[in-house]
């Protein structure tokens, strides 16, 4: 079960918002790069975000480049889950690969900055503890959930020696 406080973002948050190109030289130093996470969408986000917090965003989160660093530094910053209307394809897969849960929920507009959420990944249930509303989302496919359970594809492959069964 995931529980955390909401940071609200809009539609089309790009990988340039998340990991700006001007910090290209920090890509081999993810702890430093994480100090600039989402800087171009919310300037002081990296300073304010706390361990376990949840990002809630609009459609097409993570569009743009293939830089896996984007998903990694969101995780390093302490974010426990991203809830969005939809995700860009490469970002979605990168997030699963690095063990960062990502869920698609239509009703994100009903969730506000600072709300407290509780998310049950396996059963596809999201509770807004602040408003008392409960939502159902399509659970993450089992294949991907297996990867998440091992905290990412690298750990999964090291432990199991092959990909999860389809």
């Amino acid at each position: 079960m995931i529980r955390g406080r909401v940071w609200k973002f809009g539609d089309n948050i790009s990988t340039d918002h998340i990991a700006p190109g001007r910090y290209f030289h920090l890509r081999n130093n993810l702890e430093e790069l994480a100090k600039h996470v989402l800087e171009d969408a919310m300037e002081d986000f990296a300073k304010k975000v706390q361990k376990g917090d949840i990002i809630v965003a609009g459609k097409n989160f993570g569009l743009g480049s293939s830089r896996e660093h984007a998903a990694r530094i969101i995780k390093i910053a302490g974010v426990s889950c991203i809830v969005a209307k939809s995700f860009a394809r490469i970002f979605y897969r990168n997030a699963i690969n690095v063990g960062l849960p990502v869920i698609e929920l239509k009703e994100v507009d009903e969730i506000n900055q600072g709300d407290e959420l509780e998310i049950d990944l396996e059963n596809g249930v999201l509770k807004n503890l602040t408003t008392g509303k409960e939502y159902r989302f399509t659970p993450i496919p089992k294949f991907l959930l297996e990867i998440l359970k091992e905290d990412g594809i690298v750990n999964y492959l090291k432990k199991h020696g092959s990909f999860p069964k389809v």
Partner: protein, 418 residues
């Protein structure tokens, strides 16, 4: 039931007939990473305990920050060269050019499955190959295992019929597609191109369109492999790599969109999203002043792009207030442009010609913008901060529109300069 190009290519790489929607384990023909994604790829390759590279063709490209503008990047690049030596992986280095262009010139064959740690790997679709961008870890797995899991995508059929008018180019077609589909209109799906305009188009133009498939969220942008493909491969000295490859006539598509090329106008994408597309003829009225024009990149840095731009600039001259940057996409493009006298003419016109590579498109060097400045570029992406400064504006258009804009100093319809 017939197959789409995506279904055909995946079936060949899985070893049985597969259909859209299936999750499959597929072997990969070509895998690569660049200097933005390569170091992380190498770390994960080692973390996974791989001892050798098992993908048939593996490459590393130092094209993003190239030649290196600072020591942190120089150290990452050093690590890539060392990995290349140790594993027998060819490293393309400073001056060689952009990964996608080099792959198209030298390696990609119709029907290949190409996985790259760079979102514009979909450029390979211009040759009828399934090219797709992935993260560093996924590419590390492919380097080590020669395969990875994929979801066979649904396909959107894009039919482009008719002949483009003078001054309108392939870039305008893909901007029109972005306008229609939006930046997430093809998420998780493949685009497949059809129609008389596509059939009559050379591979250089097809690469421009496929390159930007990811800008509508697509996993790949697939062109047919036909006589135009053979012509291109022959020109690259590898006609033997040709084979015809087309979708079956009874293939099943998720949706279909149609574009009439004959009525298409020059288009421009306004900040800060690629799908924010308008007609240049309308935008021109607003006299939007442009400080910098960049002609180059994996989208439009090929010889014909430079030729189109030069023709306009030679005739009308460059506006004194516009900084003009020209970046050939590869060493071959650079050499061809040198031989034809194109580079000399650009230099005489007042352009800064930069070495082959990604140049200012990635926001680290060779043309970072000042606060409040505007650039019109032939590249593929205009996200806030993309070119190194979130307080600058990026406009995207064809090489002809870029050249016309460099003539007047504001966003200009190229048709009256042709």
């Amino acid at each position: 039931m017939g197959k789409t190009l995506a279904e055909k290519i995946f079936s060949e790489h899985v070893g049985r007939d597969v259909k859209a929607g299936e999750i499959v384990l597929a072997r990969v023909d070509i895998a690569m990473a660049q200097d933005g994604t390569g170091p992380l790829m190498i770390n994960e390759f080692r973390e996974l305990g791989f001892k050798e590279v098992k993908v048939p063709k593996a490459f590393l490209f130092i094209d993003h920050a190239s030649p290196s503008p600072r020591k942190e990047l120089s150290n990452s690049q050093k690590m890539m060269r060392e990995f290349g030596k140790e594993m027998g992986v060819k490293v393309f280095d400073a001056g060689d050019g952009i990964s996608h262009q080099i792959l198209a010139e030298k390696y990609v064959k119709p029907g290949d499955l190409v996985a790259g740690a760079d979102s514009h790997t979909c450029t390979a679709g211009g040759l009828g190959a399934f090219g797709t961008g992935m993260g560093s870890t996924d590419v590390a797995i492919i380097f080590g295992l020669g395969q990875n899991w994929f979801k066979v995508p649904e396909t959107i059929k894009v039919v482009v019929n008719g002949k483009l008018q003078d001054g309108v180019y392939a870039k305008d077609i893909i901007l029109e597609i972005a306008r229609i589909l939006g930046s997430d209109g093809a998420t998780y799906k493949a685009l497949e191109f059809h129609g008389s305009c596509i059939e009559n188009m050379n591979v250089e133009d097809r690469l421009t369109i496929s390159n930007m498939a990811v800008e509508v969220g697509a996993k790949a942008g697939l062109m047919p492999s036909d006589e135009k493909t053979r012509e291109f491969l022959k020109k690259m000295g590898r006609e033997e790599d040709f084979r015809e490859l087309k979708a079956d006539p009874d293939a099943v598509y998720e949706t279909e969109i149609e574009i009439d090329a004959t009525t298409l106008e020059p288009l421009v994408s306004l900040p800060h999203y690629v799908d924010n597309v308008r007609k240049v003829s309308e935008v021109e009225k607003e006299k939007i002043k442009i400080d910098q024009v960049f002609i180059g990149t994996c989208t439009n840095g090929r010889l014909q792009d430079l030729e189109i731009a030069l023709k306009i600039l030679e005739k009308h001259g460059k506006h004194p207030d516009v900084r003009l940057i020209v970046g050939p996409a590869s060493r071959k493009v650079y050499m061809d442009a040198l031989e034809k006298g194109i580079i000399k003419k650009f230099v005489e016109l007042g352009a800064a010609v930069i070495p082959p590579g990604c140049g200012p498109c990635v926001g680290i060097h060779m043309g970072v913008l000042g606060d409040g400045e505007r650039v019109l570029s032939t590249q593929n992406r205009n996200f806030k901060g993309r070119m190194g400064n979130p307080n600058a504006e990026i406009y995207l258009a064809s090489p002809a529109t870029a050249a016309a804009t460099a003539v007047t100093g504001y966003i200009t319809d190229p048709r009256r300069f042709i």
